[in-house]
Amino acid sequence: MTSAAPVLSAQAIRRAYPLAGRSVEAVRGLSLEVMAGEWVAVVGTSGCGKSTLLNLLGAIDRPTTGRIVIAGRDVSALGDAEATRFRLTGVGFVFQRFYLMPTLTAAENVELPMAEARVPRAQREARARELLAYVGLDGRADHRPFQLSGGEQQRVAIARALANRPALLLADEPTGELDARTGAEMIALFDRLNRDGTTIVTVTHDEELAQAARRVVHMKDGVIVDDVLRRPLDARA
């Protein structure tokens, strides 16, 4: 599972927002490589450009300049339809505020990206069950989001992000809406996912979450100022 090829390679990416007549750069010439099997935590103060970076990596947003290659695919200049398709199958995204469909059950929420990718029903039902069991929600498959706690909703969101077997899991402040204890459970789940081979990039200002990652990248004013490898890939703890 741990090949040496980079799953993610970003080169000199910039993202400028037009603001009050002038242009403000949220990401200014940032380069980053992530190997398969890594877990990178991007940390930094609020407003330093973490979310902007993650949106660029997940083909939610496009860099003003620079190149982003994920799993061999250049995603920095995709049109809307291709970017949408890439978000469906190329990456899995976990959001701070979960973004589950309120009218669908947990299982249906997990099945949604698979249905969009035209996975046959029996197959997606089986995979949704499997994923919900993996994140510890076997008994809650038929519950709707409002019947679930924040931590449980985030678990459903993680299962949904993994549905189409993405090359990379991206998470923007996944513990941001959770209390400390639920946050710790979430960190344990990410750790287990990573140990089972999932390549992860999390963006956070949660110190605990950063401490659990193998590698911590510090951002300031749209650039990387520090890159610490805390636990090499071959060092199995």
């Binding site: 979310s51 978000r87 469906l88 505020r97 973004y99 469909m101 969009e116």
Partner: protein
């Protein structure tokens, strides 16, 4: 026991007979009891059910029938109570009807040979015998007769219902205005309702659902809502129509149907509402899927 004498306006038809003059002749009827005149000797009349209800009359009753209030008139026996026809021109008039044989009518009013109108019914079936068709018969009569004109019943109906057709056109205009206004209203409601789902649409787009998928879902939902709405509306309209008919048929003692919900109307309503649903869903959905997903979820 005998109710007070009531003035009667007789616009009368003895099956085929109309009043001698175009102006109704006032008659007077009053109940009499006890009755000692030999029953078999009396002439017979028919009264309409509204009169029967108002004066408490029943078949077999004997009443006094006179051309003017206070005059002696005849004692007559009621042998039939007639229903009113479904004729709009009869609905709103507060009048009673008595039917008697023509010779009897002439004797009671003292004015003979004054038939103004009469109806002729052809006993042959027009589909077997082309010459029995009403317009052919009318034409034949007009050729042969002098001093009066014959009209087929349908022409008379058109003539007498011209007021109602004006009213009908007026109703249609109100209907069109209502439909246009509510269409605009529904369009706005759909736009607002779909806009409430910005976040969900944004989330769907973020996790990789295509514009087409999202648009299809919105249009499908709008169409379903429109279909259910139009069926509920048709059911409501049918119930309202039934209540209106029940009330006014009772009020005016007529079998006339005041409102109609026809399959054509229901079909028109369903098609119109489906069209509105699809169009408003498309318009509202297109606006959303063209917006950047990050903007939809709100950062």
């Amino acid at each position: 026991m005998p109710p007070a004498p009531r003035p009667l306006l007789a616009g009368l038809l003895a099956g085929v007979l109309l009043l001698p003059s175009l102006r109704p002749v006032p008659l007077r009827a009053q109940t009499q009891a006890p009755i000692r005149v030999p029953v078999a000797a009396r002439r017979t009349i028919a009264v309409d059910e509204r009169l029967a209800a108002a004066a408490g009359l029943a078949i077999g009753d004997t009443v006094r029938l006179a051309p003017t209030a206070g005059s002696l008139g005849d004692l007559v026996r009621i042998v039939a109570i007639t229903r009113r026809g479904a004729d709009p021109s009869e609905v709103a008039r507060n009048e009673f009807k008595v039917r008697l044989h023509l010779d009897h009518l002439q004797a009671v009013t003292g004015s003979g040979d004054r038939v103004g109108r009469f109806a002729v019914r052809s006993s042959a079936d027009a589909s077997d015998e082309p010459n029995a068709a009403p317009d052919r018969v009318a034409a034949a009569i007009n050729q042969a007769a002098f001093g009066f004109r014959a009209y087929p019943a349908s022409a008379v109906a058109v003539e007498t219902s011209s007021t109602f057709r004006v009213v009908n056109r007026f109703h249609r205009a109100i209907g069109v205005i209502t439909i246009v206004a509510s269409a605009i209203f529904l369009l706005c409601i759909t736009l607002l309702k779909v806009d409430e789902r910005r976040r969900d649409v944004g989330a769907l787009r973020l996790i990789g659902c295509s514009r087409a998928t999202v648009l299809r879902a919105i249009v499908l939902e709008a169409t379903l809502v429109a279909l259910i709405g139009s069926l509920l509306g048709a059911a409501l309209g049918w119930a309202a129509s039934a209540i209106v008919n029940w009330y006014y048929q009772g009020l005016y003692q007529t079998p006339l149907r005041f409102t109609l919900v026809t399959p054509g109307i229901v079909g028109f309503a369903v098609v119109l509402s489906l069209g509105l649903g699809v169009v408003s869903g498309l318009l509202a959905g297109r606006r959303l899927v063209r917006t950047a997903p990050l903007e939809l979820v709100g950062r």
